[in-house]
């Protein structure tokens, strides 16, 4: 065995063609970077769609700037048509959830961080890893192609509620509805492949001494996320396949006329969909924990309870899907049960928030850009989490369900949460990816402006939601009870445009630093993680052929043992430390 081992690991270092190195690479770091670029592209697309939505809601029936370039099936001399508006909301949701946030958190950082933080040479199955990336790209392209179909993109909302999604004559989109289902099936395959990889790698490819409770919280979160993904996405795949068959070969799963059930789709979708919500936030929580500990120069407060909180959230995530269906005509008694389980999620979430505060308490806070965005995450995620309680309490959910209030809530979690975490994570591991630092100055400006405009955009949505503005309506002004709050809609739109504009600062910073950013020192953030024991950028094969030894947990900041320094790398061997004994894996089939 070992003989083979050395052969294959040494093969890492043979020079490779550009093609093998950057396109069809099996190196987890390259794949992570590939995911980064692709999903940032989809993030931009999603943003552009959002801008059009905001234009329509702020200024209904006025020609959109540049709207004339769109085909007449989408706009009528510049004015967004209702059918196009529905495509916008549908595809904004779809792209942001499935092709921007999810790959940014899982695709990028699970790939990039797991082996680096656990001292592995690569993923357990590098080739499957490559496939998982290219399948994700394929899925994205299929989804994108919907816009170029004669009758435009899918139109049933990102949740694709049947029967609307299953009946082209009712939705008005024939081909692209099918494309949605196909794309989701492909994406599901990609995610499952990826997650099988992450789980196996975390369990089996940890460096000697990297015990379960020495794993950084980012890895814990990504590990639990992978478990959620591996169990949740097949369900979505199944649902999408049933939907596809309804659309193509005339099955009747969601067709009430022939005994099908419209609610079946919602149950399947949300059984996947709620774990998905945690797939979109847990990695963010994990990475933020790492960054806050680093920024506070203090061990994370209550490491174990943080781990159990992650596990608790993940577990509860499986028994709360019904809270998306309180108004759907589901049995009210079920509603009660789902309400209780949903409210309980507040507990682990609270634990995490308070532990982050505890970590900062009596710390020595360094406000580098990642830390700033991490703090932004904590404060925004708190609002998002608390506004969730309104909808969790079923009676209060009645007036708020499917209004802009829920839109505000989910954006506080997905933008204020996940995206701020990414604005923290991207500059934090940028040096590890590209060997250069992102500009701190631009980063700080970007953070401040984003934070302001972000709140100006999404906070008022709570209020118009309370006022009763339904989701996904094309023109609120036709309702007497919504007319009075139109000025607020206009305000939101202007803030949204500003928010979008500010993001170009980030884009510029990201691209400019690739070439002109200042060269990164070995350990720019003075962190303890294994990855910082490698040069920047990390070489192919990481530590291969040998593996690092791990002597302690990841958060030993300001430890008295550290002497004059205020951090203590996991790989640093103190005189008091003994080497861990590597346990070789069983060979053969036993």
């Amino acid at each position: 065995m070992t003989a083979v081992a050395h052969k294959s690991t040494s093969s890492h270092h043979e020079p490779m063609s550009f093609w093998r190195k950057y396109i069809f690479s099996t190196d987890h770091k390259i794949i992570g970077i590939q995911f980064l670029f692709v999903s940032l592209f989809f993030l931009l697309i999603g943003g552009l769609l959002a801008m059009q939505i905001r234009w329509q809601l702020g200024f209904p029936n006025t020609p959109m700037p540049g709207g004339k370039i769109l085909p007449e099936t989408m706009t009528n001399n510049g004015v967004i048509l209702p059918e196009y508006y529905i495509q916008l909301v549908t595809m904004h949701g779809t792209f942001m959830v499935f092709f921007a946030i999810m790959p940014l958190l899982v695709g990028v950082y699970a790939n990039f961080l797991i082996p680096l933080k656990l001292g592995g040479h690569d993923m357990a199955f590098p080739r499957i890893n490559m496939w998982s990336f290219w399948l994700a790209v394929l899925a994205g392209l299929i989804m994108l192609s919907g816009f170029f179909m004669p009758d435009g993109a899918p139109r049933a909302g990102w949740t694709m509620y049947a029967p609307l999604s299953a009946r082209p004559d009712l939705s008005g989109a024939t081909i692209s509805q099918k494309l949605w289902s196909i794309s989701i099936v492909v994406l599901g395959l990609s995610s499952v492949m990826g997650s099988v990889n992450y789980i196996t790698t975390v369990i089996n490819h940890r460096a000697p001494g990297m015990t379960w409770f020495r794993m950084p919280l980012s890895v814990w979160a990504l590990f639990i996320t992978a478990i959620l993904a591996v169990l949740a996405l097949p369900v979505l795949q199944g649902a999408a396949i049933l939907l596809l068959f309804d659309q193509t070969i005339g099955t009747h799963f969601f067709d009430p006329g022939a005994g099908g059930q419209a609610l079946l789709w919602q149950h399947l979708f949300w059984f996947f969909g709620h774990p998905e919500v945690y797939i979109l936030i847990l990695p963010a929580m994990g990475m933020v924990s790492d960054i806050i500990a680093n920024g506070s120069r203090k061990p994370i407060f209550g490491y174990h309870s943080m781990v159990f909180a992650i596990i608790g959230i993940a577990f509860l995530g499986w028994i709360v899907w019904g809270h998306h269906m309180f108004m759907s005509g589901m049995n009210p008694t079920l509603g009660s049960t789902f309400m209780v389980s949903t409210l309980l999620i507040a507990v682990p979430s609270a634990i995490k928030v308070f532990n982050w505060l505890g970590t900062m308490w009596r710390g020595n806070l360094r406000f580098h850009v990642p830390m700033l965005n991490a703090l932004g995450f904590v404060s925004m995620f708190t609002i998002g989490g608390l506004s969730g309680i309104f909808m969790a309490a079923t009676p209060v959910d009645i007036p708020l369900h499917d209004t802009q209030f829920i839109v505000a809530h989910l954006h506080y979690v997905l933008f204020g949460g996940s995206l701020f975490a990414l604005f923290a994570a991207i500059p934090y591991w940028y040096p590890k990816m590209f060997g250069r630092m992102m500009s701190e100055r631009i980063g700080k400006v970007h953070f401040v402006l984003t934070f302001i405009f972000y709140n100006m955009t999404f906070f008022p949505m709570h209020i118009i939601g309370m006022g009763g503005q339904m989701r996904r309506i094309y023109d609120p002004t036709i309702y007497d009870f919504l007319k009075p709050q139109q000025p607020l809609n206009v305000f939101i739109s202007y803030s949204a445009f500003a928010l979008f504009a500010v993001q170009f600062l980030f884009a510029f910073n990201f691209l400019w630093s690739l070439k002109f950013g200042k060269k990164a020192p070995m350990n720019p953030w003075e962190d303890n993680g294994l990855e910082w024991s490698l040069p920047n950028p990390a070489p192919h094969g990481n530590w291969a052929p040998n593996t690092p030894n791990v002597y302690r947990g990841p958060y030993e900041f300001s430890s008295p043992e550290a002497g004059d320094k205020d951090y203590l790398p996991q790989t640093l061997k103190l005189p008091t430390d003994r080497d861990p004994v590597p346990v070789p894996l069983p060979a053969g089939g036993h």
Partner: protein, 223 residues
């Protein structure tokens, strides 16, 4: 410009708004605690030369406290909410003296079926009016929600009433208007390109006016 929930128009508004306020206070307190703590720590513990962070891995006591407090609050909240939830949505809580109407949703209109003078649905004198819901003030009313093609959602903000209408299902929803006047029905579930235009009017009459209206309709006014 309204900064609060719409004006109360039904018996549900009382408890729901109260509960809303209660949650607003609870979450408000939590929010203030967190954000104030965050800001104070940011100022108080900012890095200064010569300072070193206090080395600790946490405290079980603290963990227990901030696990217990949310848990207790949430369970209490759950119990209170459930009481009203059952009151509003459970079939059994529909008052026996409820006046029954049928509402059939289709792309993109609401078809309201009235029992006619005999006040019974499913009889020959029933008639259907498009996009107009006429009800009696202070009269518990139960609607049988059905849908023709896709899922729609019956939403009257002033009544704090929302219920999906699902094809292939008969869903009962009830309400008791407390104010006469005119309101709007909106569709709260994406149902196609005309979703936003799926609007209907609600007229809350005094019993006399309603009788008069029924009579006039039954006399073929709908023709």
């Amino acid at each position: 410009m309204r900064w609060w929930l719409p004006d109360a128009g039904s018996t549900f508004a009382g408890p729901i708004d109260a509960l809303f306020l209660a949650i607003l206070i609870i979450t408000g307190i939590a929010l203030v605690v967190v954000e104030v703590g965050l800001v104070t720590f940011v100022i108080k513990y900012r890095a200064r030369p010569g300072r070193k962070a206090f080395y600790t891995h946490g405290s079980t006591r603290a963990e227990v406290i901030w696990t217990a407090i949310p848990a207790v609050t949430m369970v209490a909240l759950g119990l209170i909410s459930n009481h009203y939830w059952v009151l509003i949505k459970d079939k059994k809580s529909i008052p026996p003296n409820a006046y029954h109407l049928g509402i059939h949703a289709k792309q993109f209109e609401w078809q309201v079926t009235y029992p006619g003078p005999d006040e019974k649905l499913g009889t020959s004198d029933d008639f259907t009016v498009r996009n107009q819901l006429h009800v009696i003030v202070n009269q518990p009313t139960a609607v049988d929600l059905t849908a023709e093609d896709v899922i729609h959602s019956f939403f009257v903000p002033e009544w704090r009433l929302k219920q999906d209408a699902v094809p292939g299902m008969h869903i009962m929803a009830w309400f008791q208007p407390t104010k006469t006047g005119e309101y709007e029905i909106g569709c709260a579930e994406l149902c196609g390109m005309g979703h936003y235009r799926m609007r209907a009017r609600v007229f809350v009459h005094t019993p006399e006016d309603y009788k008069a209206w029924i009579a006039q309709q039954a006399a073929g006014g709908s023709e």
